[in-house]
Symmetry: C2
Subunit: 320 residues, 2 copies
């Protein structure tokens, strides 16, 4: 599988992480939003052209594994003498929070994403969480408006670059943020009010990620707010949630790409498939879980979501 | 509608609450677990025999409204000169926590629940959150084992009466607690591990209530842990969540009662119906919301849950 017209293009970091959780620690393992998006998309048989930057310290074997898996690396720069982006973090005992122990931007400090010419008509564009002005510059480079543009961001950019962020949000189809970020961006406590306010900013769809509490997909249909909810799969052990959000986003857009439709039904499926893929990421450190996904295992897990969410409606609702 | 063999029997407080939320405040309005359970069950056309205690200060008009709605009050004592149980609380700005400002036990201090003779063969028994030894004494009074016994409890009893609590839990069919209580009771952080540990204590079903994050129903089927998840309906405004858990429990057991089956499919529906009813309680102060539920409004809301949870599975899951 190499990059083709049904592949996705994803902008995001390819980097090293040092991670400590109650289940153990790992030093300088491969991570980054682009990496997780790429592994996730390719698990669905969808090629992923990555636009990123790495240092010379990034292992060649890893790049080969990514290429073999279906990632296109023509958009990954490797400046001479550069060192890869590095993040170190430690999760709290209850896994509900984490402390950043180190952030070394390195090559990311001067990153100016350049989309390879062959990818500029991509139909499916994933703008991972980076500076919103860079996200906008990527959109500017596209020769045709993609069929679906998904943008991920975080509170950091709301704090320091709200106006550029709002400007790029207005240009995308799907915004993915967490519940606290939705509240911050909208100034509304209620997620329903927050969703209405954010959809009024431009995107057709809003995904609010709630981690272990699942994900909400919001959309306006005939002037009404329509909501889809997908739970997170309760897991025996959440070993390391790093990359779960990026895995989710990669699976979401890749599902849309493989179906080739951007209607609400397909996006709902995408949320389920993305959630199923993210559950694998949570079960192991780093990319270990998502790399090991097979078609059978994914199918079983999607079935687990189906079972968890389905109920009959045999009863007529009556009152006194 | 009066009490009959398909009614539920519910033990729980009938009391006064003073409530302050970011949306306003109410002084000494009618509340209590038994009250919410009764209003909720009767919205489904299911009679509710309440076993409780009130003071002479409890308004006659309120008792008449409850009777008209389908509640049986033969099990509600009213000791001479007694004052009703009173609770006052203030919700935090983000509604995620609340402070208790006052708790006056009054008549509840000496409450010894007595099940009226005519109700001792009830098929559907809801043990609301009271002292576990009193919950056990109610079970002891039943002349036949009910088809379904649901027990609600809270961390308070885990702190001060763990052994009596475990003893009564072992005797019921469904335990309803929140996520933190499930972790406290089991000593497990993971809800999957917590569910396994709690189901091993005796109950056939476990419901973990997560408030705005929905509810999980766990069950063992052929030795496998089976999970059903129902989200909470995202609301424009959560005005006052007091009584939402009791409304949920009342709707849950009343749905089981009206269907007349305790199989997993019926219990799943019960979780949805209970969640739909609880959403009405959250939208207004006190019992205002649940009292105003009509068949049409409930049907629409159950449909909203259906829409929020349903997705097609058009896509074949494939990998590279």
């Amino acid at each position: 599988m190499s990059w083709n017209s049904s592949s996705i293009v994803a902008v995001g970091t390819v980097a090293f992480d040092s991670i400590k959780t109650p289940f153990g620690e790992r030093e300088r393992i491969v991570g980054g939003a682009g990496t997780y998006i790429g592994w996730s998309a390719t698990r669905l048989g969808v090629g992923a052209g990555l636009v990123s930057v790495i240092g010379e310290d990034f292992p060649k074997a890893e790049l080969e594994a990514m290429t073999s898996a279906g990632m296109g690396l023509d958009g990954v720069e490797c400046p001479e003498g550069g060192k890869s982006f590095f993040w170190a973090g430690s999760y709290h005992e209850d896994m509900n929070g984490r402390d950043t122990l180190a952030t070394e931007l390195n090559v990311l400090a001067d990153f100016k994403p350049v989309i390879p010419a062959a990818w500029r008509q991509a139909k499916w564009l994933m703008l991972g969480n980076i500076d919103p002005t860079l996200q906008a510059s990527v959109l500017d480079q596209m020769e045709a408006r993609p069929e679906l543009v998904v943008l991920d961001t975080m509170n950091f950019w709301m704090d320091i670059a709200l106006e550029p962020l709002k400007a790029v949000i207005a240009r995308v189809d799907v915004l993915t943020i967490n519940d606290e970020e939705a509240r911050q961006l909208s100034g509304e406590r209620s997620l329903v009010r927050a969703a209405k306010a954010i959809l009024a900013m431009g995107p057709r769809y809003l995904i609010i990620k709630k981690g272990e509490h699942g994900a909400l997909l919001f959309h306006h249909q005939d002037g009404e707010l329509v909501t889809f909810f997908c739970p997170a799969l309760p897991l025996e052990d959440v070993v390391d949630p790093t990359g779960a959000g990026d895995t989710f986003a990669g699976g979401f857009i890749a599902h849309v790409a493989r179906i080739g439709s951007t209607d609400f039904e397909t996006l709902k499926e995408g949320v389920v498939v993305g959630s199923a893929l993210a559950s694998f990421t949570c079960e192991s450190f780093g990319t270990e879980g998502i790399r090991a996904v097979t078609g059978d295992r994914l199918e079983q897990r999607v079935k687990a979501f189906r079972n968890m969410m389905s109920w009959t409606a045999s009863a007529v609702v009556t009152t006194t």
